[in-house]
Symmetry: C4
Subunit: 224 residues, 4 copies
């Protein structure tokens, strides 16, 4: 992880200083895409370069994530705003990434769409979330040491107002310090970890357990 406080413009404009992180993130996104979790232009992914102030490498807007390359990533700061020198648009949800990193100190934030996470979010939004318990896989989440733990997965109502959503996410994170992921109803999972590798493991664990839960859920019938 690059930890310099002040990145000269030329190091932001050029990609060389961040090349290892760019390549690492692209490899992880390729894995997530192979799982079917980045269909269409869905999903957005970031790696934290700096926490104070927040500085992230994040996927730019409108790229099909299966074809993501190191040049498709850009630098954003607090509020998800592009740093000086960046000429492309970041993912619409960059503000959420910045807020999560700013509040939790996460090393990476990964947002994926899967059929189970979409259905479960839609189904449980009225209840504000659902709890997973009794699964050994829960121990893969940092901080969980037994299958007898209960992990609550909050579900927030989706919104196109990113600022409002950021505030809601910040409030959620303040009340749940051990949280590693939440759902936006009908929109997907946001998961994070201390590092890119840990965030990636967290996504896989959540998605595995979501599929288990989804196969047991009586979803409201779709009637067209």
């Amino acid at each position: 992880m690059v930890t310099t406080r002040h990145l000269p413009i030329e190091e932001i404009a050029g990609q060389d200083a961040t090349r290892p992180q760019r390549e690492a993130l692209c490899r992880v996104v390729a894995e997530l895409a192979a799982q079917g979790w980045c269909q269409g232009t869905g999903g957005n992914f970031s790696v934290t370069l700096e926490r104070e102030p927040v500085r992230l490498l994040i996927t730019r807007s409108g790229v099909h994530k299966r074809y993501l390359g190191p040049g498709d990533l850009m630098l954003v700061g607090s509020g998800g705003r592009p740093v000086a020198g960046e000429t492309v648009k970041p993912s619409a949800e960059a503000a959420l990434h910045s807020r999560i990193v700013g509040t939790t100190g996460a090393g990476s934030v990964l947002h994926v769409h899967s059929v189970p996470n979409t259905l479960l979010g839609e189904h449980f939004v009225g209840k504000g979330g659902f709890a997973l318990r009794g699964y050994e896989m829960l121990k893969g989440l940092e901080g969980i040491t037994t299958h007898e733990a209960e992990v609550f997965v909050p579900v927030l109502r989706n919104s196109q107002d990113m600022d409002a959503l950021s505030e809601e996410v910040a409030a959620l994170l303040a009340t749940r310090p051990g949280l590693r992921g939440f759902l936006l109803a009908g929109h997907g999972l946001y998961a994070w970890g201390d590092s890119l590798a840990q965030a990636h493991r967290h996504v896989e664990i959540f998605e595995f357990l979501f599929e288990c839960a989804a196969r047991r859920t009586r979803f409201a019938p779709f009637e067209g």
Copy 2:
């Protein structure tokens, strides 16, 4: 995109002028096949070379799409008829591709078979279609900017009479100018976009949402 009006016989007979588009289409079809959406000889795919008159590169008849190569594509014009010089048969459904391009100006038309799209088409044909709403993935469809939009997916009754089906499709497109896809019952999805890349994204988004809807649908029991 090649935009010449009159292609000399030698440029039709040889493939060189259209090589980039052929290779691009083959790469996309390989991705669709990897998703399981071209099983058997199912599926047909086109890229628009010219809109006025309509001139398309399209998959020829009877090829297993997983093995599609640039030489398996051919040129057709209006009505899906092979241009002068072509010696092989185009996909049976070339007329539908030509009609969609002629009416919408699409840059690419992609037709896939998936288990969810087959089941949903069969199930909702009586109602003429179904609506998808509340899903963030809908924003991946060109023209949709919020998950609160409602996207109607028309379902037409299948037919072996391609001319009649073309007319029905033309009528449908005339009444729904923002349409990006429809289903033929028990037959699959036709989706398109301004470009090959956009059409590909549209297929992925539709198929993702079809799987969500299918997992919530009480299909009529199969009793043999």
Copy 3:
């Protein structure tokens, strides 16, 4: 296709004369394995070298099909018996392959296990089979030209007595000359075609439609 009547011992023992067919069959089996249809040591596959008398290249016993190589195939004749010079055991079901080829003149017989075909066979064995109708994919089966056709998929009761099973299959084929596949209950699909490529397409089409049917079937509850 090699059509010599009398293969000298040295041409049987060496593999050179049949190398192209061996490699083609291995490529197809690799595709079937990639679909998850050859789990464990499940599945057996043959290519017809000669029809009169029957002479087939077939997978030998006990090989994990995902790792199948040209050397894992052997020559068998009528009744599935190894030809002179072969030292390994053929698949237990070689007799079925020989019987199907002898009766239908098929160019290739492919036997796969899938979750849908296993469940459907188990479910419909009491009724002797089930019918698929209304699916466009049915047109991928040789001889079917419209989705309005009805294709009956016979289900035979499984047995470890290969001779008895061969007789039953022969009787079935005699009564249904257009047949391209049948199920053995709890055991899987046998499908064939005039060529290896056609047999492969038939397997894909049957399996696609089995998944459609399975998602609509109310299977008897599993109670342990």
Copy 4:
């Protein structure tokens, strides 16, 4: 990393003596990961080097199995304890591997997490297990020669107390000498075989049949 103290230098000082087994195990784990059975850091895998006393090559703790390399394996002995010289931690469940090998003489023990095995274990733990019968795939399990056999799959209650769990597993193995696998409720499958290849086949067969059973099981509704 191997860094031995007391054991024949040529056998362990470098990794060379165990290189073939390390590479073989990594290839199998890559296959299991490709099936989605090692999500997160789930799963642990061993190959038996010696049975008396027990000496195993086993995955070390905390590695994402999709990226497993030969250097991520370590030597453990009886009780799953690292042999002298090993500096890293073995999988938490190494004690179970050692106990299974010590009791059955297995050549390899493979532990995977799948959605079906997780759901079935959770569902049938109260009954202590479930029986699979009538499936031809059962013949892929060593010792089973007919689809009419009945194979009981024991389900043990999960626990974080590895010593207690080892004793329970030993008791189970003592009462069921033909056993090739069991489930830990909500935790996954332990399967083994005389060799790595046989253990791998057993995992595939169990998982295939678990998916068949799971699609017929009325799981308790998930209500959040």
